[in-house]
């Protein structure tokens, strides 16, 4: 399984999904793919279709309205798949915690593999998280 886990770790394609955040996290997440941070160095690509993705990068506290779409997108992804909760909202609900219209975090809806807290987290934090994910995939 050496080659397989190597290939999986070196080629994590990310689908970005905003589940009702304030857009702060999205700007920071996309910044990780700009020339300054360039996540493509590690083989990470931003892909447009859930069918192509390995990791789902969710930002925002998951509003009640978007919950079904999030589940559907998650189910459209082929195995093995990972979910990255990006931002405090996505981890716990953040400033929207206790609100009547949100579910309060991605892990209330779909299983999460990696939490990246911060409001919003820096792009470096995303790169750190991806490195952690790569290490975990590599480890088996």
């Amino acid at each position: 399984m050496g080659v397989l886990s190597w290939a999986r770790a070196k080629s994590i394609w990310v689908l970005h999904f905003n589940s009702g955040g304030c857009n702060g996290c999205d700007i920071e997440a996309v910044a990780a793919f700009t020339p300054r941070f360039d996540a493509e160095r590690f083989g990470v690509l931003l892909v447009p279709s859930p069918r192509h993705a390995d990791a789902l990068l969710v930002t925002g506290p998951v509003t009640k309205q978007i919950k079904d779409r999030l589940i559907r997108i998650y189910e459209q992804m082929p195995e093995p798949k990972f979910v990255i909760a990006f931002g405090t909202c996505a981890c716990t609900g953040g400033v929207f915690k206790g609100s009547y219209s949100t579910c309060g975090g991605v892990d209330k809806v779909i299983p999460v593999d990696l939490y990246i807290p911060g409001c919003p987290p820096k792009p470096e934090a995303l790169l750190n998280g991806i490195a952690e994910l790569m290490r975990r995939v590599r480890g088996g």
Binding site: R8, K10, P35, D38, E40, R41, E79
Partner: protein, 316 residues
């Protein structure tokens, strides 16, 4: 005959190598680095992507046409591979005969039609839009593309790709046929679906276009086919316009080396164009191909005829 499996393996290795060169080159133009940590300098990145995709779950959507959906990605890489067998990329072609230029052109058309079938068979609305766009785009660029390829055939007096490549020992056909070469390059951008004309899988508009529903193994084969198509078009440009295997110090240096270097340069030019342009609208592409590319290709043929009549170039 013993070298044929090696040649096929070489095509695939070279296709992945070109994908890496393309990604690195575009990244450098955009002030990024591109993949650098996978293997030495990132050369193994396309291999990692390919192996990962092969190992992923393969989803067949309920709404898809099962036969087309399964068949299209399997058939897709065959066309560029057969096309590469016609070009003298390794010094001599694997299968070369008089008239293979027409076969090469046919293979390119069928490749695009297969893309349409792949999009159509996926049963996804974005897939169908992408596939339709691919077919519509073909209506635009195909005629000028064919006319541009006729120029070298007239100059060499043969329809065999390798004979055309061998007949350029004195002059590269890109010099007398500069206009035709330009038309060829513009149309080849549309043929390989790179950025100015990546209308069939416009990321920002229609998710991933005709590839939207493909996952796992099928996507791996589709990416392989796209890379091979890039190599095929670059090799065709080299054989028809850039002197094939001829180059300085050609007797000590084998023609295959020059051919591969030139193919690489054409691929780099294509990825350069990919980095500096924004996407055209489908209507602009079709309109411009009929308004500008087609007349330019015809003018090129007329100029060629004039050269013959005036005796600037002897009749083949």
């Amino acid at each position: 005959m013993w070298w044929i499996p090696g040649a096929l393996a070489f095509f695939i290795v070279f296709a992945f190598f070109i994908e890496w060169v393309d990604r690195r080159f575009v990244a450098r133009l955009q002030d990024r680095y591109g993949p650098i940590y996978t293997g030495t300098g990132g050369v193994l990145q396309p291999w990692a992507d390919f192996i990962k995709l092969l190992s992923k779950e393969d989803i067949t959507p309920a709404a898809s046409d099962k036969v087309l959906f399964r068949l299209a990605p399997l058939v897709l890489p065959i066309f560029p591979i057969v096309g590469l067998c016609l070009t003298p990329i390794l010094g001599k072609p694997i299968i070369g005969f008089d008239g293979d230029l027409i076969v090469a052109f046919f293979l390119m058309s069928v490749y695009t039609i297969m893309i349409f079938i792949a999009g159509y068979g996926s049963g996804n609305s974005f897939g169908i839009v992408g596939g339709t766009r691919a077919a519509l785009q073909m209506l635009g660029y195909e005629v000028p593309f064919a006319l541009a390829m006729i120029g070298p055939a007239i100059l060499a007096g043969t329809l065999s790709i390798s004979e055309i490549a061998y007949s350029q020992s004195n002059i590269w056909y890109a010099i007398p046929l500069a206009l035709g070469f330009a038309v060829f390059m513009v149309c080849s951008l549309a043929e390989v679906d790179v950025v100015p004309f990546d209308i069939p899988h416009a990321k920002q508009e229609i998710v991933a276009g005709w590839e939207t529903e493909y996952s796992g193994r099928k996507l791996a084969l589709i990416h392989l086919a796209e890379n091979l198509e890039m190599v095929f078009i670059s090799a065709l440009a080299t054989a028809l316009f850039l002197g094939g295997g001829y180059g300085p110090f050609s007797p000590p240096i084998p023609p295959a080396v020059w051919f591969i270097i030139k193919t690489l340069i054409v691929a780099i030019v294509i990825s350069n164009l990919r980095a500096i342009f924004a996407r055209f609208k489908i209507i602009t592409l079709v309109e411009w191909s009929w308004k500008y590319l087609l007349p330019l290709a015809i003018v090129q043929l007329l100029v060629l005829e004039l050269f013959f009549e005036l005796g600037v170039i002897p009749w083949p």
